[in-house]
């Protein structure tokens, strides 16, 4: 390169120009990792090289910072995605880590924090629902038990007082519980008292007949007591056939009947 003082111009040789263009292309190709290092005795050309290298250094720093920020953002996004995927698979304990929570990017910090809070809320709500379901199941179980109280009135005599509506499920519970108690106590008599039953339709009556016949299959003598006048009237109107089961007015008569039969059997032996 030479300087023409009169015209205020500088010039470089063709070889220096070609080397410069080639060097700049290399820097671009290698993503700012290269620097110009062209041997020359021309101080102005060397100054130009140094200025270009300084510019590339600055640009490289900016790009590196930008790349790091982008990469950190990508890693945080990856982490958020992984946590969401884990939650989708049922792991409600998954949470975004500290690096993303403390990300340099404000939006990412907010996103990660909100995501963790949302997952925690979902986890809490599911726990509440599970607690409610457990409580409900326990209450239903308790109600079922209370619906089928079996009392031992006398030696060998069990009583099942029935109150309220009797549907298929309750009828099934009654049958299972009564049969278990008959076997457990080796009871010979069962009194089913329906004083507390205000409405009996054909289906309810059918349930009672089935319960009593099942008990009789175990060798137990069954008596139904406490049929209210209105219930008796309904049963007659409906044409329900209760002839196959023994019915008495109330629980007291039922117990007396059982005791009489018990004495008669003892006398017979």
């Amino acid at each position: 390169m030479s300087e023409n003082s009169e015209q205020g111009m500088v010039s470089i040789t063709r070889a220096e120009y070609d080397a410069l263009i080639s060097g700049l292309a290399r820097i671009s190709d290698r993503e700012m990792t290269e620097r110009l290092d062209i041997k020359s005795s021309n101080p102005t050309f060397n100054g130009l090289q140094a200025a270009i290298n300084a510019l590339v250094d600055d640009a490289d720093k900016v790009l590196a910072a930008d790349r790091d920020a982008t990469m950190n953002m990508a890693l945080s996004m990856s982490e958020c995605f992984a946590v969401l995927d884990s939650v989708r698979q049922g792991n409600l304990e998954a949470r975004i880590g500290e690096e993303s929570i403390n990300s340099a990017d404000e939006l990412m910090r907010q996103f990660a924090g909100t995501l963790n809070a949302t997952i925690a809320d979902i986890e809490s709500q599911i726990e509440t629902i599970q607690r409610q379901q457990n409580t409900q199941a326990a209450m239903e179980n308790l109600v079922r038990q209370l619906q089928t109280p079996i009392l031992q009135l006398w030696d060998d005599v069990l009583a099942l007082p029935v109150i309220g509506m009797v549907d298929s499920r309750r009828s099934q519970d009654m049958m299972e519980t009564l049969l278990q108690e008959i076997v457990a106590h080796r009871s010979k008599y069962v009194i089913i008292d329906i004083t507390g039953v205000e409405i009996v339709d054909t289906r309810t009556a059918d349930h009672f007949v089935k319960v009593m016949k099942s008990a009789e299959l175990l060798g137990t003598r069954c008596v139904m007591t406490g049929i209210r006048p209105a219930v008796a009237q309904t049963l007659v109107e409906l044409g329900v056939d209760l002839s196959s089961i023994r019915t008495l007015r109330n629980l007291e008569e039922g117990l007396r009947d059982c005791l009489r039969d018990m004495d008669a059997r003892k006398g017979a032996h």
Binding site: M71, A74, D85, E99
Partner: protein, 73 residues
């Protein structure tokens, strides 16, 4: 154990990393994902990704400009 493949050639970082992340639902724990990429910073990036995501980087090999990373999920 199944080996899955991901061709991330021609993508600039962090695109390959995000592509790996997008594979998460498809790759079961223990499976291996083999990723090919020609981004200059891919190896450094995939190491950071594995550290952050608790995945095992089994191997990194180079074939010319292409870097192949094997990641165990």
């Amino acid at each position: 154990m199944t080996t899955h493949s991901l061709d991330a050639k021609g993508m600039r970082c962090p695109q390959p990393i995000l592509k790996i992340t997008a594979m998460l639902p498809q790759v079961a724990p223990g499976d291996v994902l083999e990723v090919s990429a020609d981004c200059a910073t891919f190896e450094e990036d995939v190491r950071k990704w594995c550290d952050r995501m608790n995945k095992t980087l089994l191997a990194v090999t180079k074939d010319g400009d292409v870097t192949v990373a094997q990641i165990q999920f």
